[in-house]
Symmetry: C2
């Protein structure tokens, strides 16, 4: 068994970096606060005797050697970056559970056959630099390195410059071929486990995602003298696109999702008809065909809405991931771990994107979910219990030992 | 006749202060740029021998004495502040036409019986500090001085502090009782005069306005795992309110207007369901009952939408003006001036709010409209021809001389 108190302490220590007044965390990717989180993680891993590797997009790998020099590595991990109003558990729970596994093995002097490795992936959230899961995407070859380096945040800072600014552009090359199995513990970020009073979610896969940036351009004009029927009101278009996206998501239940998270109006004056609106679209689904259909339906709706309102538009994809089905053996190892520990468990599909979904395309991978309060995440009030955190970490230990061998 | 070149030159000189790359002006109320505009206007008026008065909200009055010490004053004016992406003519045309009348009288050594006075009202646009027409509103007693002083911009700066910062809190008291007649030349800011190839709009009145700040509060949560039917998505609410406002405006044609000019999403992350949206509502109508009905319909729609989406809301009025009908004699003087000058003219209702609408509640007032290109205003591409500008100024001269007597 892992040490519940030690794991909880590490989580609370990490949560101090970027702590927000409402009990959450603002530690966005490649900021100086996130650098402090990386430094702390590396310091903890070094103290456990791990060797550190950092690759060209800043993914950090901390390795505990095994007895067999030719064996592939058994890996655990997640991410240290957060949403602007994020919680303490999203990401950190996975990384620090991996660290807790290593601490437990060290404490009990256990030698595994395969090496054990913990990874902190760069920019999983994607909120500062889209897309999400950028580090694992580049690692797995799903995202193109050069294109990702050129991605910018809202202030025009590139990933490349941000990476250099925090000194986390590494030169180690780590290959997916080294991985025997990858496990990622995470809070569910949804309400299902809590609703069904289940401790462990055995994650069989995750929703595919399509993200877009949409710019609608009309004509800014005076809110008073401009007759309603002569307007080219970009905000009218934006409101209809928002409704269309939601309608299309509702038409694709139970797995469809549609969200407008960002919107900026130009010039943003209360008595001016907005001449331009920039907005983001996030859509998700479990079935590849349904996700494609949703994307097409939204594109058609945008075209029709802009036609009717006399708007020009630019619809730019910023993320496009197919749904992921995890490796059967890895999923079985998670289920078996939960069983052996006597924990209630159920199969579940992830609504959020996770690094495991990209790793899973090039190596065997699976995930372990635990409940979070009211199913709420991407919110400062995100919360999980020490018991659930400990249970998830124990399942990780079991699954990793099963894969690594003694 | 007034001097077309001199007037045009003054307009172009003033437009240099806050000039934007696209040929417009950003000279928002009580900024340092607007202070420069005020300084320039006062300098020009002093050069014409005018005495200057500044009242407690920063309205500037420049006076040319008449022959009768007991006569009331004949006033012209408008405003020097602009929208963030405003044009060269909105406001300045009225103020500088008044100055041009004084310059013309001086040039030809004409003595009027009544004094001639030109006024530049504070914060007509209302975009930085709502409501619009703040200076004339306080002058006319329609807006409460203390309440206006406490109004804040988006950065929390009060009107009071902004006024002190540019040193334009005056101590002259100017009374509406001093006014015999007030005339305000302005670009139409709408398409009607251009469409009908008419040079002068004889403005019989203006639409009433209701402005609101609306905050919608839901629950921010993860865009992926949160099922559509369990969301409390503040942006879904904001989209529906936008549509409702527009629908209600369309139901009140031809005079109804509805505009959402500002919207801010919190936390503003592409994969987070917005937990809060702040937005502005602007609605207008010519008939008092219809404006009240629109306000009620929008409030009911907000209530219904929030109920359906599980949102809390705060709907705060920031401006509430009844429609204004101008004084018959003043309107006739404008029509007569256009007739005498042989200019095409028509009666017209103003869709925009104007200082004349507040002055008109406490003194005889009217307005003179000229066409603007494509009816576009509150846009950097706002444009008017020297011929129309000159024609409008000549009508002002006629109307003022008619009221002031020789
Ligand atoms: N797990 C998680 O919050 N990932 C962020 C990427 C996403 O939006 O799914
Ligand atoms: N004339 C003008 O642009 N006024 C601004 C106030 C309004 O929105 O009507």
């Amino acid at each position: 068994r892992t040490d519940s108190d030690r794991l909880w302490e590490a989580l609370m220590e990490m949560a101090k970096l970027g702590a927000t007044p409402k009990g959450g965390v603002n530690r966005q990717a490649l900021t100086d606060l996130e650098r402090q989180g990386r430094d702390l993680f590396i310091q903890w891993c070094r103290a456990e005797g791990c060797t550190i590797r950092i690759d060209n997009i800043g993914n950090i790998f901390a390795r505990r050697e095994g007895s067999d020099p030719n064996a592939k590595t058994v890996m655990a991990g997640s991410h240290l970056d957060s949403q602007p109003t994020g919680g303490k558990y999203d990401g950190c729970f996975g990384v620090l559970s991996g660290l807790e596994v290593i601490r437990t093995l060290n404490q009990h002097n256990i030698t595994t056959q395969s090496p054990i490795e913990v990874v902190a992936w760069t920019n999983e959230e994607g909120c500062r630099f889209p897309p999400c899961m950028m580090g694992s995407g580049v690692f797995s070859g799903e995202l193109e390195f050069d294109a990702m380096m050129a991605r910018t945040d809202a202030d025009g800072v590139t990933v490349s410059d941000a990476l250099d600014a925090i000194h986390y552009r590494g030169c180690d090359s780590v290959s997916p071929d080294e991985i025997k199995a990858y496990f990622e513990p995470h809070i569910e970020q949804g309400p299902i486990l809590e609703d069904t009073d289940t401790t462990i979610g055995v994650v069989i896969g995750g929703l595919g995602q399509k993200w877009f940036d949409l710019t609608l351009t009309g004509l800014e004009a005076h809110a008073g003298p401009t007759p309603m029927n002569l307007r080219r009101d970009a905000m009218m278009g934006a409101a209809e696109v928002t409704q269309a996206l939601n309608r299309i998501a509702f038409e694709h239940q139970p797995h469809g999702r549609g969200t407008v998270g960002c919107m900026t109006l130009h010039p943003g004056s209360r008595n001016v008809i907005p001449g331009q609106v920039k907005m983001t679209l996030d859509m998700r689904h479990w079935e590849p065909e349904a996700l494609i259909a949703m994307g097409k339906a939204v594109a058609a709706a945008v075209e029709d809405i802009c036609q009717r309102h006399g708007l020009a538009y630019e619809l730019t994809p910023t993320a496009d991931f197919a749904p992921e089905h995890f490796n059967k053996e890895c999923v079985d190892a998670v289920r078996e771990g939960a069983k052996q520990l006597g924990l209630s468990h159920m199969d579940i599909i992830s609504g959020a994107g996770h690094d495991a979904m990209f790793v899973g395309r090039v190596a065997p991978a699976a995930m372990i979910f635990i409940p979070c309060k009211d199913g709420i995440s991407h919110n400062e009030i995100e919360s999980a219990t020490p018991e659930h955190v400990h249970a998830g970490c124990n399942v990780l230990l079991h699954a990793m030992l099963d894969a690594a061998g003694l």
